[in-house]
Each structure stands twice: as structure tokens, then as C-alpha cells.
């Protein structure tokens, strides 16, 4: 029996004991091919998935290396079937290659003829292929490059894409590092993306994904299309690029619902790209408006399905995806893999926090008991009304008030889902509120005021979930959310994790109503936090005072 830190389970999960002395080495060895699923305090869980193994193959690891890692770190014997499965899965990647042919353009070639035969016979693939050039090579219609990769992944024979990229229209972009430095992991991330050609960089919220994007642009030295989730985040990208690179305001265009500029660097929102008029995507021509050399996808895990279809046609351009998590609530991780690219860089949340780049957080769940009258109303309510009833109880306002009072003087955000509730909270606390209907200008003014410390308390709806940089927030109070979405939890926590000065500890409060669906959803989110390694406490609203004084 070996005394390693790793336990390999037969259901393809790997359990890593953190307190073990070999644990850091083991984590480094395992990370390239296994997805970190949970990282609570003692034992981290990794999962072996075909995508993960193919990601590893794409990064140049082979099956023998993977198996050796498992065998040498494993505490117990590794199930034989699992090893065979790993070897077989990894061997599937790269049997097929997409290559440039001097005379025939794009071709699909294989070193393994039976595989090629199998693939050629698959119905889904047939329409995408052209003439058979010789026994091992088939011509591919250039426009089907993305669709073919998607289809091949579904067949279980992911193709390696060696066909290269068009350079795009050259445009000088350089990082302007006069008063800041690119962090090591950001540099690594950008470089490993560049060597890989296309792919996804996974970094936690607040770790500076925008700068990785900027560094990638500096590598590409070409016109760039940036796709982001919403207008506010588009403006932030713009500000950040102006501040951190040689680009000037005139070189950066915004392509959103209100403004439609096309400049060497254009920032477009997902929403405008997916707007349809009479069943036609009207803004698709943006993709062809310029000879883009690089396409940046912000928040890949939110990429809407129509964009996937558009991305399928953009396979000749370099693509970089930025995200905090590869977990998609719709389970389309495979499409991200085949259309944007394999994972090129990954740094666990806690590691970056340990390096001091993001702030540590203290998570507290405050449970309020519904008064009897509301309990009755809740019990008799229609199921679809229940969540709103439970999460909008007036008791929460008292709790919020007392939490705010305890952290007086520290920048605080109150985040919620229901606008009525937000208005009520705002009125009770006498604080400004930002909702969907707040004008972009007003929003920016408030955010700016919050950043500068002019406003110490801000009530925001879910518009603030994504890509809004509020580095000064130290306390967040969540009063309601969208039905326990894990993604949302990550985003909201991300608001707090931007590093502040002098080792601040971020506080993350969630106020939930006990014995209701609110608490059930909260459990879901809590589990996510715990799995990310954030210990959390649960306290009753009545105990709020004394407990927090101790903390």
C-alpha cells in the first residue's frame, strides 16, 4: 500500500487530501487532466471526464503520463477498468486532424484508417466533407470547419485543428505597463493561449480576466472583436483597455443596442448579436465587417446558443474565451471545447487568493423566521409565487439594516432579485438603487461614486452580477437571488473578491427565510460556496448581534 494523497474512485472521481505533504505536487500533476469539482477544506474532488482528458491531450500530455500520475500518487490500487478507460479515451483525441493542404485547402486526415472510415459513414458528418483525396485524407468545406469539429466531438473522435488561423488585419496594440504590472498568472494564461492557438482561460472572478484579454490582443497585434455580456461591462472593457494599453478611445468602438461603431477594436454585446428581426440575425455582418485577427469571448459560460452557431463559422480566426467556470448550466461544455477551443489555462480560486490577488471572504448565512401571518400566506400560495413571498419578507429589511449598521463605514452592496423588495430596502436604508431601468449614465455615475467612496451603500439588482468592477466593495448582502443559481453566486462573490488595500476580509451575507424554498435554494448556493473552499456559517437572525461582534 502506497501512502499517497490521492484516492481514485471507481466513478472517476479523484479525492485529494489537502493536508497531505505531497498534496501540492499532486494537485499540480492532476490539474491538467482532471476538472476540479469541489474544493472544500480537507478533501478536494476532481473528476475525470473525456473533455478533461482531451484538454490534457491538447496540452501535450499523453495517457501514460496521466496513468503514471494516478498510480504514483494514489493511496490505494487504481481500478483497472479506469486505467483502460483513460488510455482509450485519450487515444481518441488526435486520430483525426484538420490540416491545410497546399492544393485542396482544408482537409481532414487520419493516421487510423478505420476511424476515418467510421467517421465518414456517420450521417451527421457526410454533408460537411468533400471529395476523398486518398485513403487517409478527405477534403472539408472550409465553411464547415466548426460544425465538423462539433460533430466529431459528438461522435467521440475529437479532431485536432492544425489548420492554423488567418492573421487578420494588422493593428498595433501594446500593453502600457508604466504604472502597473501584468501578474505572472495573467502572463502565463495569455502565453499558453497564444501557443495553443485558440482556447479558454479559466480564472476566478476578480482575477483580472480583462487583462488576460488585453495581453492576448497584444500578442495578436490585429483587429479584435470582443463579445461581452452587457453594455456596462462593454464600457468597462473600453475603460480598462484605454487605461492599460496603447489603444486610444478612438480606436475602440462599441456595438450595442444604443451605439453601433465598428473600429479596429470593437466591443459588442451578446444581446445585440442575438437580436432577431423577422427571424434574421441582423447584426451578423459585424462578424464579417472587418478582417478580425482575434475574437475575445467574455464569460464563455454564458455564451448564448446562437453565438455558438456563429462561432462555428469563425474557425479560421483566433478565439479566446474568458470565464470563471467551465460549468454551464445548460451542459454545453462540449460546444465550448469544440468551437472555442480546449482549456488553455486554469488557476484555482483559492490559489490566486493565497497569492493575495483576490480578497479572502467570510460567508455568513442569516436565517430569519417568517412571522406567523406570512407563514400562512406562504403555505397557501401558488408554487410559483412561493419563492417571491419567502424571499421578500419584511423581516429581511430589519436584518439588512442591522448588518449595515455593524459594518458602517465600509462600502456595502445590497444585492437582490425583486425590484419591489430592492425599492423597499433602498427606502429603509436611504440608499440609491440601481435597477434594469436605471440609465446607463446614471449607473456609471453611481458606480463611480461608489468607487470613489462618495456613496457607501448601494442597492443593486442583478444587472450588477456580471463584469462590473466595484473593487471597493467589502460587504455584500444578498437578499434574494435567481433560484439558487450557482453561477450567480460565483458572480456575486466575485464582486467582493477584487483586492482592496491592506488585507481586507470581504463579508458575504445571505439573508434567507427559514423553512421555505428560499432556504432550499440557499442550500444549493451554499454548497457551491463550500465546494469552492469558502467556509460559511449559518446564524439565526436573533443571534446576529453577538455572533458578529465576535467575528
Amino acid at each position: 500500500m502506497n501512502d499517497g494523497p490521492l484516492i481514485v474512485q471507481s466513478d472517476k472521481t479523484l479525492l485529494l487530501e489537502i493536508d497531505h505533504e505531497q498534496a501540492p505536487d499532486c494537485r499540480k500533476a492532476v490539474a491538467p487532466f482532471a476538472e476540479l469539482e469541489r474544493s472544500p477544506e480537507h478533501i478536494h474532488t476532481y473528476r475525470l471526464t473525456p473533455l478533461g482528458l482531451w484538454n490534457a491531450r491538447a496540452a501535450g500530455h499523453d495517457a501514460e503520463q496521466v496513468i503514471d500520475t494516478l498510480l504514483s500518487y494514489s493511496r490505494y490500487a487504481v481500478p483497472h477498468a479506469l486505467l483502460i478507460d483513460i488510455a482509450e479515451t485519450m487515444a481518441r483525441y488526435g486520430r483525426l486532424k484538420l490540416e491545410k493542404h497546399p492544393t485542396h485547402g482544408l482537409v481532414l486526415s487520419s493516421t487510423d484508417r478505420p476511424v476515418l472510415e467510421e467517421v465518414l459513414r456517420a450521417k451527421k458528418v457526410q454533408g460537411m466533407l468533400g471529395a476523398r483525396l486518398d485513403d487517409d485524407t478527405v477534403a472539408v468545406h472550409p465553411s464547415e470547419r466548426g460544425n465538423l469539429k462539433q460533430a466529431l466531438l459528438k461522435l467521440g473522435w475529437p479532431a485536432e485543428d492544425f489548420a492554423g488561423y488567418v492573421d487578420g488585419e494588422a493593428h498595433a496594440i501594446a500593453l502600457d505597463e508604466s504604472n502597473w504590472k501584468l501578474r505572472d498568472y495573467q502572463r502565463d494564461a495569455a502565453e499558453s493561449f497564444w501557443h495553443g492557438g485558440s482556447g479558454v482561460v479559466v480564472l476566478p472572478c476578480g482575477a483580472g480576466k480583462t487583462l488576460v484579454g488585453a495581453a492576448a490582443m497584444a500578442h495578436a497585434q490585429a483587429t479584435t472583436l470582443i463579445l461581452v455580456t452587457n453594455t456596462v461591462s462593454a464600457r468597462q472593457w473600453k475603460d480598462e483597455l484605454v487605461r492599460r494599453t496603447s489603444l486610444t478611445e478612438d480606436e475602440i468602438g462599441e456595438y450595442s443596442g444604443s451605439v453601433k461603431e465598428i473600429r479596429p477594436v470593437t466591443i459588442a454585446t451578446y444581446q445585440v448579436m442575438t437580436t432577431r428581426r423577422k427571424g434574421v440575425y441582423r447584426h451578423l455582418e459585424l462578424l464579417d465587417a472587418r478582417d478580425w485577427g482575434l475574437i475575445v469571448y467574455d464569460e464563455v459560460h454564458l455564451l448564448p446558443a446562437p453565438i455558438f452557431r456563429m462561432t462555428a463559422d469563425l474557425q479560421a480566426r483566433r478565439r479566446i474565451g474568458l470565464t470563471a467556470t467551465l460549468v454551464r448550466e445548460d451542459g454545453r461544455e462540449g460546444d465550448v471545447f469544440s468551437l472555442i477551443g480546449p482549456k488553455r489555462y486554469d488557476a484555482p480560486w483559492k490559489d490566486i487568493e493565497a497569492q493575495g490577488w483576490i480578497a479572502p471572504a467570510d460567508c455568513v448565512e442569516v436565517r430569519v423566521t417568517l412571522p406567523n401571518s406570512e407563514r400562512l400566506a406562504y403555505a397557501t400560495a401558488e408554487p410559483e409565487e412561493r419563492y417571491r413571498l419567502a424571499s421578500c419578507t419584511h423581516h429581511k429589511i430589519d436584518v439588512v439594516r442591522s448588518v449595515v449598521a455593524q459594518h458602517a463605514g465600509r462600502p456595502t452592496l445590497v444585492i437582490g432579485q425583486y425590484l419591489d423588495q430592492l425599492d423597499e430596502v433602498a427606502a429603509a436604508l436611504d440608499a440609491p438603487v440601481i435597477k434594469g431601468d436605471t440609465t446607463v449614465k446614471e449607473r456609471q455615475r453611481l458606480f463611480e461614486a461608489f468607487r470613489s467612496g462618495e456613496v457607501g451603500l448601494l442597492v443593486v439588482s442583478k444587472v450588477a452580477n456580471f463584469s462590473i468592477d466595484l473593487p471597493s466593495a467589502e460587504v455584500a448582502i444578498q437578499v434574494s437571488g435567481s433560484f439558487g443559481s450557482r453561477q450567480e453566486e460565483a458572480q456575486r462573490l466575485g464582486r467582493l473578491l477584487r483586492p482592496g488595500e491592506g488585507g481586507k476580509v470581504a463579508r458575504f451575507y445571505t439573508v434567507v427565510s427559514r423553512d421555505t424554498v428560499d432556504a432550499d435554494f440557499a442550500q444549493n448556493r451554499q454548497r457551491f460556496l463550500a465546494e469552492q473552499g469558502y467556509a460559511y456559517r449559518i446564524i439565526d437572525a436573533d443571534d446576529l448581534g453577538p455572533v458578529d461582534n465576535v467575528g
Binding site: S10, P40, H42, A77
Partner: protein, 686 residues
Amino acid sequence: MLDALVVTGQTSDFPRISIVHADRENVAAALERLTGLALVWESSTGLRPLSAVPDALIGAGSRVRPFSAAGDPADAERRLALLSPRARALLEHLDNGGGEGTTGGARTGLSPEQAETPVEELLAHQLLVARDRTTVLLPGEVAVALRGGHTTAEPVDVVPPLATSDRDAALIDRGAAGAAFETVRRIELLLDLWSTEPPTVLRAGGLGVRDLKAAAAYLQVSEPTAALLVEVAFAADLLAAGPNHEGDPCWLPSDAFDGWCGQPVEQRWERIARAWLQSARMPALIGSRDPVGKARNALVPDLASVFASEARRMTLAELAGLEPGQVLATGTGVPSLVARVAWQRPRRPRFRDDLVVGTLEEAATLGVSGLGGLARHGRALLDDEDAAAVLAPLLPSPVDHVLLQADLTAVAPGPLEAGLARRVQLVADVESRGGATVYRFTPTSVRRAFDSGWTSGEVHSFIAEISRTPVPQPLTYLVDDTARTFGNIRVGMAEAFLRADDTAALAELLHHPKAASLGLRQIAPTVLVSSTPVDILLPRLRDLGVAPVVESPDGTVRVARRDVQRCRTPRSRRADGLTIAREQAHVAQVVTAIRAGDRAAASRPVVPAGTVSSPSSSLAALRAAIETRSPVWIGYVDNHGTSSERIIDPVRVEGGHLTAYDHRSDDIRSFAVHRITAVRAVDRRG
């Protein structure tokens, strides 16, 4: 292989031994052994096999037939040289195929020049012998000549080499131990499931395909692996057919299973592995098609062969022959092992090769071998030594603690001690199994512990006791929160309830000495429940001097009244109108009949009785009546012989029958003309 020689030469002399493709010494040694076994004896003319030996060998896979009487390989060789390439190819094919073939009517008795087909050519050269019209045989001497003067084309004393490669012996052992651990764990898991939801025994015996699929999905293994596990559990007597609660035959864990569960893992494995080694069953065939094309089910009775156990032992013995640290090479290793076993026992049925391959796969799954090499505990198993003791140090040692985490999971970093595992499973759900086990605490799982009688204090102390890490606050909170709502609402059984606003009256009733038998219990100051049904309770309460009223299910008071019994008024059977109408119709009918009778009687002819009008005159009269449309009187004898008189209006006469309106029955009737005794005209007045 030497017995081939014995067949070849019915009465052999020593030189003929040269036809065995082997070294002279080896042949001599083998002959000695055959003589020793008394299968061959030395007669005055040379060696002779027992006469039963050729019979036993031919048909049991021997590839050589006895020489024909005048046979001589040298002569055969000469004739072979004359053959056309086509004929030669056919001959070789026939030789490979067992030396016997059927032809579609080749002509015999031809000279080589006349031959048209290869078969005819061969027959003409006497290289094939026709047994009957359609079957041809390859005589022994020809076969020997074909193989270059030997009984086999390949030398028989050269042991086929095994393709091997080197692996770390410790790695082999660990790999195998991992598989062994998994096997034991999976069998326990499956049988645990089947003890509550047993699959039914098929009518033909065996386990249904669907049940096997479900088992495979449950165990997260492939179907063949699941089939193997089921089969070895069966072979180890852990699983047997027995009746379930309804008495239907089901596959159930045997009582040996309980004892087995209590043993340490290594002993459990030894029991399974030993059972597998000795079993005559062939799990590898499950799911394949039998000759009829039906899929074979697991656990069916006919899935056994006498060769299975032998093939298994020989295969493992070959593996055991390898140096420790040597394993079968990937790809080429398995076929080379098959060839080796085939060389050792050449006369086994063809499916033996499949058995060898199957054995290798099964051994790997069961943890007897690992990475293609026999593990140390596998070796011990084969040598009937204490395999469990060899295996024990390789297995994860049981642990007595778990690690608790804030995401409400508990990880046992090794197999938990048996009793502990069951207790943890009560409080938490299993999320992932393997060398370690991951448990998750949920409100449901904690409530389950409360349901089976634990208190929140016990749960807390149990968790604290088994955890090596501090108990996370959320878990403490979860237990308390579950305890808070647990038992909030209590449910009980009662036949009746008694409620009163007057608590004193209820208390009085409760403590009344005569009320003891009513089973009263106070559940609230104003509510009592009783275990006595209402209909008995009511009179008893009245006896006690209280005046209860009964509440109906919707809460209203049911006023008591003496039950007066009544039955339903019977309904009159028919409406009056109907009866009257029927009677009127009846009367009208009778009147009609009487009137018709009267008219008939009135118009009765005056001719004396006995004078019968002839049919022809009757017919004429009738025709006349039809033409004039006038009524006639007829005398008629029906088929009972009763004569009657009627007044009729004839309509037509056809085919000996008269169709007419009969005044008496007020209807159209048909009369047989020959039965009409007389016809008379009647005057129209009626």
C-alpha cells in the same frame, strides 16, 4: 500428439515414428509414456495401439485418418506432384477442414484425363476416396504426404512461446488487489440491492436481460462484468433462487451472504475467487447467441461445460509459469497464450480458445491477475495456499474515521469498519464509492437517523466521534434544524375522539374507574382519543352518565334518532296502459279468428265428407280465385295432420305453394298445394 502416429500406422514399426514432426528422443520418450499408459503395446510386428484408441480419436478432433490399406506416403507424394494447382489447393483446404468433404455429384471411376473438376481429378488420382455418392475422404497417407511426411505441418515438440513484456511486480499486485477489492464491494452492493428488490427467476431458469442491464447500470460496470459478478456470486453460493414474499421464485442472497459480509475483505475475495476457479460455468458466453440465435441469459443452467474449470486452471498455470514481473504483452500476449494452451491439450472442442480468452478477462476483473500478469495472491489461489493472507496487506486497511467538510460531505479515506459503515450510511447518503467513500449529509438523511430512533444528541456525538476534523458549523446547524422540525407533527391511531369545552368534564371521564376499558387518552386539555369504535363507545358513555353527540366527518352534529327500519316500496311491474293495449290486441285477434271460423263454417261446402277435390281442380280453382281476386274456402291439413278450414284470399301459386291472405290469422301465409283438401268459392259478403 504422438497418438496421431498411432492412428497413422495401424501396425507400426519403429521407423515410421519419423513421421512425427519432432525430435527422435522426444518421440521415444513419448512412446515410452504411451506404452506405460497401456495405450500402445508392442506386438511381434511392431507397436500397436489398443484397438479402441483409433475409434476414440477419430471424431474427437484428430486431424489424421488411418492409412488406407495399400497406403504409402511416398506413393501419395508422387501422385501429389501430378496435380493441377487448383486441385492441390482444394486438397489443402480439405485437409485443413478435417479431411472430409461433400461434393455435388462428382463422377467416380474416371481416368485423370477425363476429369473435369478438381474433385474428379483428385478422385482419379486416388488422392480422395469416395465414401458414398456425395462424401469424399482424405486418406491418411495423402494427408501425411501433404504435410511434408509428418502427421502435423508444424513441429509438435516445440512449445509455442508466450509474448511477454516486463512490468513492475508490485504494480501487478496492486492492480489486481484493486480489482479484487472492487469485486468484493460490487458483489456486496448488488446483493444488498437484491435482498430488497430481488429479480425474478426466468421460467427457463436464469436472470432476465433487463435485470442484468439494471444491475450493470447500478454497479456502473459493463454488462459482461455484471454478468461475471452475478455468476461468481452464484458459484460462491452467495446467490441462489428462492421464493420471495409472494412465493414467486426470485434470485436472492443466500444466508451464507450474511456470514460472508462479516468477513474481512480478503477472505471474502478468496471465497469468490476459489468458487470461480472451480466453477464449470462460462460467464463469458452470457449475452452471446446460441446456435438457435437466442441470446444466452445469466445464471441459466446450461451455461456450464466440463472443460471450463480445466481451461481456467491451465490458463492461470501458464500465467503462473511466467517470472514475477513478466506479463503478457499487450496485443500479442493473449493469442500466444491461446496457442500455448492449444498445444498442450490439442483435442479440446473449439470453444476452448474462447474459454482461455474469457479466463484472462475474468481473472483481470476479479483481481486474480493484474496488467496481464498473475498476482501473488492469484498464484497462492492456484496453489491452494492461503490466498487471503497474501492479499490482505495489499488491500486498503479499514479506517475508523471520516473527514467532515463544510459542504456537508464526509469522506472516509478508506473502507470503513463494517459496523461503522452501516451507521454512517444511516445518517448520510453515499455519493461516491471506491477505495474511499464520500457521504453527504442532507436533511432527509439526518431525519432518517431520527426516524430510526436516534436523538439529536446522539447524532451530534456520533458525528463528533467519527470525525477527525472539527465538525463544521453548517453541519451542526443542519442537525439542529432537522431536529427542530422533527416530530413537530405527531400522528397516531384512534377509533374515536372526544372533545369538550369543559375540561373538567373530560378529566372526570378520563379518571372514571369504569372508563378504563374504553382506552381513553388525553392529547390536549379539551381532546381525548379512544381506541374503542364509536358504535360501542356511544352506549358505554351513556351508561357512564354523559350525553354525547356524534360529529359527522364535516364537523356538523349528527342528531341521534332511533333507527326505524323500512324497506323500499316495490314498484308495480307493468304500466296499466301497456296491459290494456295487450289485452285489446289479444281480444281483437280472437274475434278475428272466431269470425273467420264462422265464415268458413258458413261457406263449408255441402258435399258429403270424404269427397276430396283433386289437386288439379284445386289448383284451377285457386288460379281462378287469384284472377278474380275473390276469397275462397279451403280445407287444409297441416304437417301435424290436423285438418282445418280457412277463408283465404289467394295471391299467387308458385312451386307447389300457395301464398294467400289468411282471414283467420289476419296475415299472409303460405300453404302447400298438395295439402289443400278442397277449394270452394265464397261469396264476397264475408
